[in-house]
């Protein structure tokens, strides 16, 4: 009876270590197109990160943090911008997992990227940690 949890733990650690060996820098035309799309959008998102309107969520997406600083008429556009960015981010995580030959690694890729985004966030940006928002 006690073996079952142990096996589960070993399998889990094995799967995590396999995932850890994945290449997050892997490239493909689709990944290139997604990165380019995100890069182009970043010029619109950067001031929103800086103002605190948009923050980096804990699940590797971006989220509305405090829209109060955004002019009313543009809040819908910010919402659309966030949705577009998250669609690209989710696609990027799936593509990187696929390009590594392991589509099932998607959640691991997403978690790793989530940590990366938070680590690389600039001073003053809002990031989600432990379920709450923190300003870096």
């Amino acid at each position: 009876m006690k073996l079952a949890p142990l096996i589960c733990a070993v399998l889990l650690s094995a799967s995590l270590s396999v995932a850890a060996q994945g290449n997050l820098e892997v490239d493909s035309p689709a990944i290139g197109a997604l990165k380019q799309s995100m890069h182009q959008r970043h010029s619109q998102l950067a001031p929103l990160y800086q103002s605190g309107a948009v923050g980096l969520a804990g699940d590797g997406t971006v989220a509305l943090h405090s829209a109060g600083s955004v002019p009313l008429a543009q809040r819908g556009q910010v919402n659309a911008l966030i949705a577009a960015e998250n669609a690209d981010r989710r696609a990027l995580y799936r593509e990187i997992a696929r390009a590594n030959g392991h589509p099932e690694w998607e959640s691991d890729v997403r978690n790793t990227f989530a940590q990366r985004w938070v680590q690389r966030a600039q001073s003053g940006w809002w990031v989600q940690q432990g379920g709450g928002w923190v300003q870096k």
Partner: protein, 654 residues
């Protein structure tokens, strides 16, 4: 109003004291009032307990610069009232005839706002409010603090002793904003009229609102001034019952709603909305796109009309009915191309929380990329977040796409939906298909059987076989997957085999010169990004069997131009000028495309050798076409091929 008076008393020091036990009104209550009139014309009003709406104070004091008691008339002028929670004292003057129960009251705020009220002998009250700042409301109603209300209100209030009141006025520069900014309004100008009457234990009311200016953002909707509202209902035991609200909204013929608002929690317990004759071209971008596809809102197009109903309970959707009338929906492609479109579309789609329903739509047609889709009927069984489609036959050219057992399961979240079913492609004429796609005309037929059609976020898998009979042979595509179909990273992968393609037809179709004979092709791991190849391992080789094998001078030149400089053995170049056609024994060309580079190979497939034979001569006259550059930039190769097909560039022969 109940007035309980206590007797007047005068002390030996000449101070007059006048006390009132209690004054009550639905909107306010005063208890333990005491007027002191010390010598010198001043006056002071002490209130042991004061209630305004649901805010309570104790030991409130009003100091009057001038006060008097003349018979039964109490006067206070230049009074100053300080209340805990209010940032500034109130300037108050009043005159009250206790015998006649009549009087006047004036309240001035430091910011210029004024309230002037008259208490008439019949018990009615008439009040005017000028420049009242909504920003002070949180001091009276702390629950509003999180909404940061603002704006100025001017209006009139009439209170009748029969417990009726009328309020009409105008809000200017109205604003509010939740802390997260998801609900906010700015520069709102609103005309308001409310009539209410107390009937036994409930207030019955009617209201009219006219929104003249400003805008609001109620996530995810941005709404500008224009709508107006007429509503009636009642208030009872802390619940605001909006029995019927009629809203005029641009693009909607009729919009009605009812709701129950819990005044204690500030939450709607129930909301029901019904609309008729909504113009989708107007309401679609404003109300549907932000919910359906915020990321693609700019690419969504709407047309036609929709009617329907929605019901929410405690914020949860319980019912949805949609009736479409000649509606149209289209999604422009991510690359600006024609994308996907359906319509005109008419029919009924119902949804009930926890109950199965059935919907039926008649779709007049559609378009996918450059392909026009014919009319079809769409029957669906809906059960919560699961939709099961009836057998669905979508006419396409002279054939059809037939989906069977198609089921979409919404999953627990928006990002874990799945779909499955099977697809049969009834034979399509290649002549019509190539014509529709602006490709060189080909004869033949395309058909397919995909028993394992599966879809999930970011992936559509076609587990089956699609066969194209073309050029007297056939192409067979298997392992077809469309990845990230609606995003910028959209790409497609497949394996393709071709058998016994007639080179004479093929080369004629693509104006490649003339080759007689047959070829097989094997393309593994084909990857297309935006319909352009980005990866594959392809091999084309002569088919087995005995058949005439001739290649024209033009085809030799074209193949050699694809193979790059020096593709023909120098000793044989002079032959080209003398003969129109040449015999060949075998043709073979391979390309492994990776990272934009085509690693080429020839008949022998020997990747180590520097040179590779593309055409091996045979018969008389004969010549070999040999490639010397194994690594070729794919883009350059495609440009060469396009130039060859277009006939704009003469092949280089050296």
């Amino acid at each position: 109003m109940a007035l309980l008076s206590l007797p007047l008393t005068a002390s030996a020091l000449g101070t007059l004291v006048f006390a009132v036990g209690r004054v009550e009104h639905p909107a306010f209550a005063l208890q333990g009032l005491q007027f002191d009139f010390p010598a010198g014309g001043r006056a002071r009003l002490s209130i042991a307990r004061l209630r305004v709406v649901d805010r309570h104070w104790r030991n409130v004091r009003l100091d009057c610069a001038h006060g008097s008691l003349d018979g039964a008339t109490v006067r206070c002028e230049g009074g100053v009232l300080r209340l805990a929670g209010l940032p500034h004292p109130l300037q108050i003057s009043f005159q009250l005839d206790l015998a006649a129960r009549a009087g006047t009251l004036g309240i001035a705020m430091p910011d210029g706002a004024r309230l002037n009220a008259r208490l008439l002998t019949d018990g009615s009250v008439q009040a005017t409010v000028t420049g009242f700042d909504l920003g002070v409301l949180p001091a009276w109603l702390p629950r509003l603090k999180a909404w940061s209300p603002g704006g100025r209100f001017d209006g009139e209030l009439k209170w009748h002793p029969t417990r009726m009141f009328e309020l009409k006025g105008r809000l200017a520069g109205g604003a509010f904003g939740s802390e997260d900014g998801l609900r906010a309004a700015e520069k709102v100008a609103l005309d308001v009229r409310v009539d209410a009457a107390l009937k036994s234990d409930r207030w019955e009311w009617t209201a009219e609102l006219g929104w003249r200016d400003g805008a609001t953002y109620l996530h995810p909707f941005f709404i500008e001034a224009g709508p107006s509202l007429r509503a009636h209902g009642q208030v009872q035991q802390g619940v605001l019952d909006i029995r019927e609200a009629s809203v005029t909204l641009e693009g909607v013929e009729q919009l009605a709603a009812s709701a129950l608002l819990n005044l204690h929690t500030g939450q709607f317990d129930r909301v029901a909305v019904a609309l008729a004759g909504a113009d989708l071209a107007v309401v679609g971008p404003r109300w549907l796109a932000p919910i359906m596809a915020p990321a693609a809102g700019g690419r969504l197009r709407f047309a036609g009309r929709v009617s329907g109903a929605l019901e929410f309970e405690h914020g949860r959707l319980r019912l949805l009915d949609a009736v479409f009338d000649e509606a149209g929906f289209s999604l422009v492609g991510g690359d600006g191309g024609p994308g996907l479109a359906f319509g005109p579309l008419s029919g009924y789609v119902p949804w009930r929380d926890g109950l199965p329903t059935r919907g039926a739509l008649r779709v007049g047609g559609g378009r996918w990329q450059k392909l026009a889709l014919g009319a079809f009927d769409l029957g669906v069984d809906i059960d919560d977040r699961r939709i099961r489609f009836d057998r669905l036959r979508i006419p396409l050219l002279d054939g059809a796409l037939v989906f069977d057992g198609l089921v979409l399961d919404g999953g627990d979240t928006d990002t874990d939906w799945t779909g499955k079913g099977s697809l049969v492609i009834e034979p399509l004429s290649m002549h019509l298909l190539t014509e529709a796609l602006d490709l060189p005309s080909m004869s033949g037929v395309l058909s397919g059987s995909i028993p394992g059609l599966r879809a999930s976020p970011g992936e559509v898998v076609f587990d089956g076989t699609t066969v194209v009979s073309v050029f007297d042979g056939y192409l067979r595509a298997t392992g077809l997957r469309v990845l990230e179909p609606f995003g910028v990273g959209s790409h497609l992968t497949a394996d393709i085999e071709a058998h016994h393609l007639d080179l004479a037809q093929l080369t004629e179709t693509f104006s490649f010169g003339s080759i007689t004979g047959f070829v097989d092709a094997d393309v593994r791991g084909l990857e297309l990004v935006r319909w352009r190849p980005t990866g594959f391992d392809a091999k084309v080789s002569s088919s087995e069997g005995r058949y005439p094998r001739r290649i024209s001078q033009r085809a030799v030149q074209n193949i050699s131009s694809l193979g790059g400089p020096g593709a023909i053995a120098a000793i044989q170049r002079s032959l080209l000028g003398f003969f129109d056609t040449f015999g060949y024994r075998e043709i073979g060309l391979g390309c492994v495309l990776k990272a934009g580079v085509c690693e080429m190979s020839g008949i022998d497939g020997n990747a180590e050798a520097e040179r590779f034979v593309i055409v091996s001569g045979g018969g008389i006259p004969a010549l070999d076409v040999i490639g010397y550059n194994r690594r070729v930039d794919w883009r350059e190769l495609v440009e060469r091929l396009q130039r060859v097909i277009a006939g704009n560039a003469a092949a280089e022969v050296r």
